[in-house]
C-alpha cells in the first residue's frame, strides 16, 4: 500500500467501525427493551409488588420507561454522546462509575491472561513441531485435546475443589481478602486460579494451530536450501519458519478477542471475581437495562475493533485479501 492511499483507507475503516457500532447499539437497545422481565424489580426489589398501578405508572414515567422505543433510543443516544449513560437500576449509581470501579479488575485478569495464553501456546506449538511424532508430541497432543474439551466452568469448579476446599492453598473467590485491598501479594493469590483456567482452556487451540502451521512450514523448499547452506535446525526454525507464521499468528490474536473475552466472563462469574464479566451476568439476570446496554456496547466495541485490527494486519501481510473476503473466525474446535 502506498503512502498516498493511507488516509482514504483509514477513513473507510473508521466509517465501517462507526457504522458497526451504531448498528450494534440499535440491536442491543431493541433486544434489551423487548426482552421480558420487570426492570422496576431490579430498581425497587420486592417493594415493586406492593406498588399501586398509579405508583407504577409514575415511576415508569420518571424513569422514562413508558415512552415509545424510538424515543427511548434517541434519548439514550443523545445522553451517550454526552457521556451520560444513565444510572444503574440495581446499584443506584452512575453506570460509568460502577463500571470504572470494576474494569481494572478485569484488565488485571484479562490482559496478562491473554498474553500468557498466546506466549505459552507459541512455545508449546514450537516444542511439538520440533519433536514431531515423538512421545512428547503425542502426549502433549492427547492431553491438549482433552483439556480443550473441558468446559471452563467445570475446570474452575475442579480447581476450586482441589486448591481451595481440599488443600486450602488458594482463595476461591473475589479479587482480594476484605481488609487487604492494597496487599499486592494477596491480590496475586486471588488471580492464580482464574488465570490458570483462562490459560488452560484456551492454550491447546492456539498451540495446535502453531504446531500445524510449523509442520507445513518445515516442509517448504527453502528449508532444504537453508539446511544445505549449513544453518542449524534451531536457526532455520526460529529465524525462518517462525518468521513466516508470526504475522498470521498476531492477526489471529486480534481475531480471538471475542472468543477469549466470552470465556473470561464465565470464569469471572464462577470465581465471583468483581469484574465486567460478573457485572454483565448480574445485569442480564436482574434486567439492569442501562448497565446491560453499556456493557454490551463496551464488549461489542472491543470486539469490532479487534476484528478490524486483525483484518488490517491480514491485509498488510497479504494484499490479496480484500476486506470483502472476510476472516476466519476461531471457533471452539481445536
Amino acid at each position: 500500500m502506498t503512502r498516498k492511499n493511507w488516509i482514504p483507507y483509514l477513513i473507510k475503516k473508521l466509517a465501517i467501525f462507526l457504522a458497526s457500532v451504531l448498528a450494534l447499539s440499535v440491536i442491543v437497545f431493541a433486544v434489551s427493551r423487548l426482552s421480558p422481565g420487570d426492570p422496576l424489580v431490579s430498581y425497587y426489589g420486592e417493594r415493586t409488588e406492593k406498588m399501586s398501578p398509579a405508583e407504577r405508572r409514575q415511576t415508569m414515567e420518571r424513569l422514562g420507561l413508558n415512552a415509545p422505543l424510538t424515543t427511548q433510543y434517541v434519548r439514550w443516544l443523545e445522553g451517550a454522546l454526552r457521556g451520560e449513560f444513565g444510572i444503574s437500576y440495581k446499584y443506584k449509581q452512575d453506570v460509568l462509575d460502577v463500571i470504572a470501579a470494576r474494569i481494572g479488575n478485569t484488565l488485571l485478569l484479562g490482559l496478562p491472561g491473554f498474553l500468557l495464553t498466546f506466549v505459552l501456546a507459541l512455545l508449546l506449538g514450537i516444542l511439538c513441531a520440533w519433536r514431531e511424532e515423538s512421545w512428547l508430541d503425542k502426549i502433549i497432543s492427547k492431553a491438549g485435546t482433552v483439556l480443550s474439551c473441558v468446559p471452563e466452568f467445570w475446570l474452575s469448579l475442579v480447581l476450586i475443589l482441589f486448591f481451595s476446599v481440599i488443600w486450602r492453598l488458594l482463595p476461591s473467590s473475589g479479587a482480594y481478602t476484605i481488609g487487604k485491598e492494597n496487599d499486592i501479594g494477596d491480590r496475586l493469590r486471588h488471580l492464580i486460579l482464574p488465570m490458570a483456567v483462562m490459560i488452560l482452556s484456551h492454550l491447546w487451540y492456539y498451540a495446535y494451530m502453531i504446531r500445524n502451521k510449523l509442520l507445513e512450514e518445515i516442509r517448504a523448499d527453502y528449508v532444504l536450501l537453508a539446511k544445505s547452506k549449513g544453518l542449524s535446525r534451531g536457526q532455520i526454525l526460529f529465524r525462518h519458519c517462525l518468521r513466516g507464521i508470526l504475522p498470521s499468528y498476531i492477526s489471529l490474536m486480534a481475531i480471538s478477542v471475542p472468543h477469549i473475552l466470552g470465556g473470561t466472563y464465565i470464569i469471572e462469574t464462577v470465581f465471583s471475581y468483581p469484574g465486567i464479566g460478573t457485572l454483565s451476568y448480574e445485569s442480564a439476570r436482574w434486567k439492569d437495562y442501562n448497565m446491560l446496554m453499556v456493557l454490551c456496547m463496551l464488549t461489542g466495541v472491543v470486539i469490532i475493533f479487534a476484528n478490524m485490527l486483525g483484518q488490517i494486519i491480514n491485509e498488510r501481510i497479504d494484499p490479496r485479501i480484500r476486506a470483502s473476503e472476510g476472516l476466519e473466525v476461531p471457533t471452539n474446535e481445536p
Binding site: 433486544v31 473441558v150 468446559p151 469448579l157 476450586i160 509442520l215 507445513e216 442480564a284
Partner: protein, 314 residues
C-alpha cells in the same frame, strides 16, 4: 466396493459433434485389476477411533436404557440423606437435595444428548439452506448474506444465547435447543456456501437445472453429496458445542432449571457442594460430560481425516 472396476477407454478427450449427436462416447474393454495399482499417497485418510466410538456408544446406550439401569423417578429426593458420599445404595452418592446421582447421570444424559442432537439438526438445516442460497444466488445476495454471518460470528455467542433465552422465557429442552441451534449455524453455512459456489457452474448442475430440477432437487441430489463430507466434522463438533453450551448455561442458572435434570443442571448447585467438599457432586457429572465431549472431538477429528504431510525438510 469391489476391487474391480469397469475399465473404460476414453475415446475422445473432448466430445465431438458426432458424439453429441448420440454416438458412443466410451467403449468397455474389460475388467481392470485394481490390486496392483498404487493407492493414492496424498489426500486425507479416515481412520475411525474405535475406542471413542465404543465409549460414546456405552454412554448413549446407558442413557437410552436409563429406565432399566436406574428405574424409578430420578428426581426423587431422599431428604434423609442429602450429600451422601458414594455407597452401596447410591453408587455415585446423592446431591444436596438427596437425589441419586447415579440415576440422574443416565436420565440427565438423555436430556444433554438430546439437546446436542436437536440443536445440531436445527443448525445444520439452517446452515445448509442458508449456505446454498448464498452460494447459488446472485453476487449481491451472496455478499449480503456472508456479511450477516460475519456479524453473527463476531458477537460472542454466549451473549446472543442469553438474550434469546431471555426473550423466550423460562427454558425447557426445546427452547434451549432452538436457541443453541439458531446461534451455531454460521461456520457450517460458510463451508456449504464455498462448496456450492464452486459447484454451481459445473455441467451436471446446469444440466439438472435445464431439465427443470428445482432448488431442493439440485440441493439434495447434486450439492449435498459434495459438501456432506466437508461438513460432517463440523456437524459432530456442533453436537459437542451444543452439549457444552447447555451445561455452561444451566450451570450459570440461565439454562435449564434444577427440576429438568441434565449434566449441566446437575452442576448448578455446585457452589453449595463446594462448601461442604462433596467432590462427587461436582466430579461425577463433569467427568461424564468431559468424556462425552472428548469422544466426540476424537470422532470429529477422525472424520476430518488425517493430513498426509510427507517428509519434513528440517
Amino acid at each position: 466396493m469391489s476391487h474391480e472396476a469397469l475399465h473404460v477407454q476414453h475415446l475422445h478427450p473432448m466430445p465431438t459433434e458426432a458424439q453429441l449427436a448420440g454416438e458412443l462416447r466410451f467403449k468397455v474393454v474389460g475388467r481392470l485389476d485394481t490390486h496392483d495399482m498404487p493407492r493414492p499417497v496424498s489426500g486425507r485418510k479416515v481412520r475411525l477411533p474405535w475406542v471413542s466410538i465404543a465409549v460414546l456408544a456405552i454412554i448413549a446406550l446407558g442413557c437410552l436404557l436409563a429406565n432399566i439401569i436406574a428405574p424409578g423417578d430420578a428426581s426423587y429426593m431422599d431428604l434423609a440423606s442429602p450429600a451422601k458420599a458414594p455407597c452401596a445404595q447410591y453408587p455415585f452418592g446423592t446431591d444436596m437435595m438427596g437425589r441419586s446421582i447415579f440415576a440422574m447421570i443416565w436420565h440427565g444424559g438423555r436430556v444433554s444428548l438430546l439437546i446436542g442432537v436437536l440443536a445440531t439438526a436445527l443448525s445444520t438445516v439452517i446452515a445448509v439452506v442458508y449456505g446454498t442460497v448464498s452460494g447459488a444466488g446472485p453476487v449481491w445476495l451472496d455478499t449480503l448474506m456472508m456479511r450477516v454471518t460475519e456479524i453473527f460470528l463476531s458477537v460472542p455467542s454466549l451473549l446472543i444465547v442469553i438474550f434469546l433465552q431471555a426473550i423466550l422465557g423460562p427454558a425447557n429442552v426445546v427452547s434451549i435447543s432452538v436457541v443453541l441451534g439458531v446461534t451455531s449455524w454460521p461456520t457450517i453455512a460458510k463451508v456449504v456456501r464455498t462448496e456450492v459456489r464452486q459447484l454451481r457452474q459445473s455441467e451436471y448442475v446446469v444440466a439438472s437445472r435445464c431439465m427443470g430440477g428445482g432448488f431442493m432437487h439440485v440441493l439434495i441430489h447434486h450439492f449435498a453429496p459434495n459438501f456432506l463430507s466437508s461438513i460432517m466434522f463440523m456437524v459432530v463438533m456442533n453436537v459437542r458445542g451444543a452439549i457444552a453450551s447447555e451445561s455452561t448455561l444451566s450451570f450459570m442458572g440461565l439454562g435449564l432449571p434444577l427440576e429438568i435434570i441434565s449434566w449441566g443442571s446437575m452442576l448448578s448447585n455446585a457452589d453449595r457442594a463446594l462448601l461442604t467438599g462433596a467432590w462427587w457432586i461436582i466430579l461425577i457429572p463433569g467427568l461424564f460430560l468431559v468424556v462425552t465431549l472428548v469422544c466426540m472431538t476424537n470422532i470429529g477429528n477422525a472424520l476430518r481425516g488425517e493430513v498426509n504431510r510427507g517428509e519434513r525438510n528440517l
